[in-house]
């Protein structure tokens, strides 16, 4: 099996799904000739032609809106938003239309779109290139939100997202794009949406994270008997896996790049405060960004949860 990075894994998933299903198309800014600013769609234009790999005007709400019309008509559009923050213009289309089309038409129409976007801090990008606003999408009934943390699950999860009959927001941790290479099978495979991975078993602490933070958590876990959960699907998250782990450890540390306030960590913690309170030995800790927008490159490293902050949270947890 070849070792590939996340960019290649996503590219492979797109390529294989496009080969398999003529209704799958790719659209967005610079996805064609340029192959995407991160080269995720590289080579697709050459292989599938300009009717299926489409460079669009610079118009995020238009792109999302058009994809909704396409999807209702019978295509399976995979939209690329160049960076997460540039999807904000499209939020109304995603929230008021994509998320609701099936419900509003009582099942007559559905909206099988995938909205891919790189997200997250840690790439020394310009302003608004490093937001982590997954919680906004998680708050929308009807929208699934998926984040891969490895090339393997990038491919499997994207394949599932494309085949899903409903809208999926697929968040790609830009920091990881080329940072890790792992073995990924050639040929199609899927990973069920809604299922978390227990990346590592442990008895003392349940550490919950996703995307780039998973790797920080792994780093930080040395010396702790830590059960590490990679959430993978942020909405709906895998309640069972989390609950089973917390019942065992009684200690929880949630780590994410986004700010705490109404972040996804809040939902995980609130879920546990409702469903697992009797199993908790101490506070549910969230290690997250401070209440501030993502800083520019020079301060970026301070913003992102550091290994040290995560370790401190583990140490704190072990006091209970």
């Amino acid at each position: 099996m070849a070792k590939i990075n996340i960019v290649q894994a996503i590219n492979q998933a797109l390529r294989e799904e496009m080969e398999r299903d003529a209704d799958v198309i790719v659209l967005g800014e610079d996805v064609g000739k340029d192959g995407g600013v991160f080269r995720v769609t590289e080579g697709l234009l050459e292989k599938f032609g300009p009717a299926r790999v489409i460079d669009t005007p610079l118009a995020e709400l238009g792109i999302a809106g058009a994809a909704i019309g396409m999807a209702a008509y019978g295509l399976k559009p995979v939209v690329e938003m160049q960076f997460m923050a540039f999807s904000y213009e499209a939020i109304e289309q995603i929230f008021s239309h994509a998320a609701r089309l099936r419900n509003r038409s009582r099942g007559r129409y559905n909206c099988p779109i995938v909205v891919r976007m790189p997200y997250g801090v840690g790439i020394k990008g310009p302003e608004l290139h490093m937001d982590s606003s997954e919680a906004l999408f998680c708050h929308m009934p009807g929208i699934k939100v998926v984040v891969p943390s490895t090339p393997y699950n990038a491919k499997g999860l994207l394949t599932s997202a494309i085949r899903d009959p409903d809208p999926v927001v697929f968040l790609e941790p830009a920091r990881l794009y080329r940072a890790i290479k792992t073995e990924v099978p050639q040929g199609e495979f899927t990973l069920a949406l809604g299922k978390a991975d227990v990346f590592q078993e442990g008895r003392d602490i349940t550490a919950i994270s996703w995307g780039a933070m998973l790797h920080r958590v792994i780093d930080a876990s040395e010396g702790f008997d830590c059960e590490i959960i990679d959430l993978k699907t942020l909405k709906p998250f895998d309640e069972e896996t989390i609950l089973n782990s917390v019942k065992k450890t009684g200690r929880v540390v949630i780590v994410h790049e986004a700010t705490k306030y109404c972040g996804l960590g809040a939902e995980v913690a609130a879920f546990l405060a409702q469903e697992a309170i009797m199993h908790l030995k101490g506070p549910v800790a969230r290690v997250a960004a401070p209440e501030a927008v993502v800083p520019m490159a020079l301060l970026e490293d301070y913003y992102m949860p550091s290994k040290e902050r995560i370790r401190r949270a583990f140490e704190e947890a072990m006091k209970y």
Binding site: I25, A51, R52, I54, T56, P57, A59, L61, G62, I63, A64, G65, A66, A67, I68, G69, M70, A71, A72, Y73, G74, L75, P77, E89, E92, Q93, S96, H97, L101, R102, N103, R104, S105, R106, G107, R108, Y109, N110, P141, G142, K144, D164, P165, D166, G194, P236, E239, E240
Partner: protein, 355 residues
Amino acid sequence: MGEKVIERFELKYLQIVDEAGVADPSLISSFPDGLIKKFFEAIVLTRTYNERALSLQREGRLGTYASVYGQEACQIGSALALEKGDWVFPSFRESGVFLTLGYPIWQMLRYWKGDERGMKIPRDINIFPMSVPVGTHIPHAAGAAWAMKIKGHKNASLCYFGDGGSSRGDFHEGLNIAGVLKLPAVFICQNNQWAISVPRSRQTAAKTIAQRAWSYGFEGVQVDGNDVLGVYSATKGALEKAKKGGGPTLIECFTYRLDDHTTADDASRYRSGEEVKEWKGKEPLVRLKILMQKKGLLSGEYEKTVNEKAKALVDKAIEEEEAYPPSEPEDIILYTNSSLTPRQSREIKELGWQK
């Protein structure tokens, strides 16, 4: 060097039958009697439905309702130009379009009563659920047209919105994308002079909305929106052009909203009775009847039958609607996605909603 003119545009206005019922002789000739009667019958049905909906609302049997009175020609003229396989993207005021496409009337009433099942579109009608957020459905029409093009289907999408809707970013991005990709889409702006209380003159400083087409590299035309023949002709031409690969068209139907914005509105707060009166004189049915009379198409007998048939259809629909069983609370959750999340299943149980 220096200054030179590099582009010139002309905007045309089309009217086939004027307010007095006088028709342009060369343009009217292509209209068979049967078609003119169809116009008439559809307008009568729409008015009948609309009046009943308004009175049902007054009786508390429907929720807030948006009257179509005055705009029937825009809707019927354009909808009758559609062919099977074309797709329609309506705003919330397109009762005339729904009716002309044969949409089940009881479902329309059901929707306005506050039931999602009203927009469970029958399989043989290609219309989207009405769009409540103004203008947001315009890119959907572009997208469907795009899909038709990709799939090689020789159809078109037809999108309705108002003068207010033309101020939204969705209008711009949707029409621009349609222009770039040369999509088979026809955009119909029903400029009814008002967006709730905001007059057309405050919606944009442009003289017409039709002229915006040039911003997107395709053709625009303003039509007398109270002239059903004019609207039909413009739409038919635009749809044919679209299906032949000629790209999109923007049609501005110049019309007037004769009623309040919705039943929740009181238009007397912001516009004069004289203005409304003046526009009543231009409304679409009167002139069509004059034309039909001149052509000998409007016998008393015929008119009576048409009226009665419309009334009977609407009466029957009201009965059907009222006999329709209520939704289950579970339905609130059930249609969110193709399958329930574990949490949703739990919620249905906790709420005691399982059937």
